[in-house]
C-alpha cells in the first residue's frame, strides 16, 4: 500500500459543485479498501464522502443528488480517464493508477 497522485478536473459546470475548483491534484491510498486496489468505485461512491466532499467544501454533502445517483455518478455527467471515456476503461471497476488524469464533466445544453 502506498500513496498515488491523481489529477482531478471539473468542467462544464461541475466546478460549481466543487467550490469553483477546476483542477486539483490529490494524493490517495493505492488501496482504500484493502487488499483491493483503489478503483473508481472507491473514489466516486465511498471516497466521495471524504475526499470529494472535502474538495467541494461540503457543497456535495448538502446536494449529493447533483453528483450521485444510486452507486454511480448522476445522469448527464461524463467521466473521462486519461482523456478517454471511462466506459472504455471499465467504469467503476477501473483501478486508479499513479498519475491518472480524471475529468468529471457535466454536459452543457445551452446555445
Amino acid at each position: 500500500m502506498s500513496l498515488i497522485k491523481v489529477k482531478l478536473s471539473f468542467s462544464g459546470g461541475m466546478e460549481l459543485l466543487f467550490n469553483n475548483i477546476k483542477q486539483k491534484h490529490i494524493e490517495i491510498s493505492s488501496s482504500i479498501n484493502p487488499p483491493n486496489a483503489t478503483t473508481m468505485k472507491d473514489l466516486v461512491c465511498k471516497f466521495n464522502f471524504t475526499i470529494l466532499i472535502k474538495i467541494s467544501d461540503n457543497l456535495l454533502k448538502e446536494r449529493p443528488e447533483l453528483f450521485m445517483s444510486g452507486d454511480t455518478v448522476r445522469p448527464g455527467i461524463l467521466v473521462l480517464i486519461n482523456e478517454t471515456d471511462w466506459e472504455l476503461e471499465g467504469e467503476l471497476e477501473y483501478e486508479i493508477k499513479d498519475g491518472d488524469d480524471i475529468v468529471f464533466i457535466s454536459t452543457l445544453h445551452g446555445g
Binding site: G13, R74, G76, E83, E87, L88, T107, H109, G110, G111
Partner: protein, 274 residues
Amino acid sequence: ANLKNNDLSLDEYTRYGRQLILPGFGKSGQLKLKNTSILIVGAGGLGAPVAIYLAAAGVGKLGIIDYDTVEKSNLQRQVIHNESREGVSKAQSARMTIEELNSLCQCVAYDILLDSSNALEIIEKYDIVIDATDNVATRYLLNDACVMAGIPLVSGSALRMDGQLTIYNYKGGPCYRCLFPKPPPPESVLNCSDGGVLGVVTGVIGCLQALQAIKIATDMNGGPHNLLIFSATSYPLFRSMKLRPKKEDCALCGERPSITELIDYVQFCGSGAL
C-alpha cells in the same frame, strides 16, 4: 448525397477559388458540398456562425429551424441577426443574411416549433443535422429522430465560458443516448438565459460545428469518436476526449432497440422549453 449537380458554374469557380486550389479538397470537395443539404436546428448563438460559414462554403441547401423572434438581448452573440431584424422570426432573419452572403445557397426557413409530430418528416429531407438548440428535451428529440432517419448529428453546446462538441450517430460512434441513457435532473440544467454566456464562446463552437459538417459532407477524416471540451478560462483552451463506440444495449441505436418512435420529450426530461 448523390451528385446530381456534377459541375460548377463560372460564378462558382470564382467564388470558391480558395477551396478549389486547396489540397485535399478541390473540385470534388466543392461538388460534394454543393450536393449536400444540411438542417440547422436553432438560429441562435451556435446556429448563427454555423449557417453563415456553411452558406459561405457552398453547401447546396440549408434548412434553418427556429420559432423565436429576434430580441435585442440576442445580438450579443446571435450575429446572423442585426438591429433592423428585432421582432422578425429568427429563421427568416437568418435566411435573409444567408441570401445576402451567398445567393447560390438554397435556404429554407422553418418558422416552427420542432416536436415529435413534425421532426422526422423534416429531418428526412436532409443529409446532416446540426444541433444548435438550447434545451435538453430538443437534444433528445433530435438524437432520436436522427438515429431513426440514419442521419449524422453534429451537436454543439455553450454555456458561460464553456463549450462542447460531438458528432453523434456517425460511422459506428455513439448516439446521445449511448452516452446519456437518462436525462439529467432538471435542477442541474442551465440554459444561456439563466446561466449567461460569453458571446464568442458560441462563435467558437458554432464554427467548429460548421467545420465538422463540412468534413462529413466531403468525407474528410474525422479521427476517433470524440468529445471536444472548450473552456475560455482554462489552459489548454481545448481538450479532446475519446468516446465509446455505439452501445450494443442502447435503447435507441442498439441491437434490440426499445425506442422505435418519437416520444414526449418534455415529459421524458421533466423540463420544458421544447
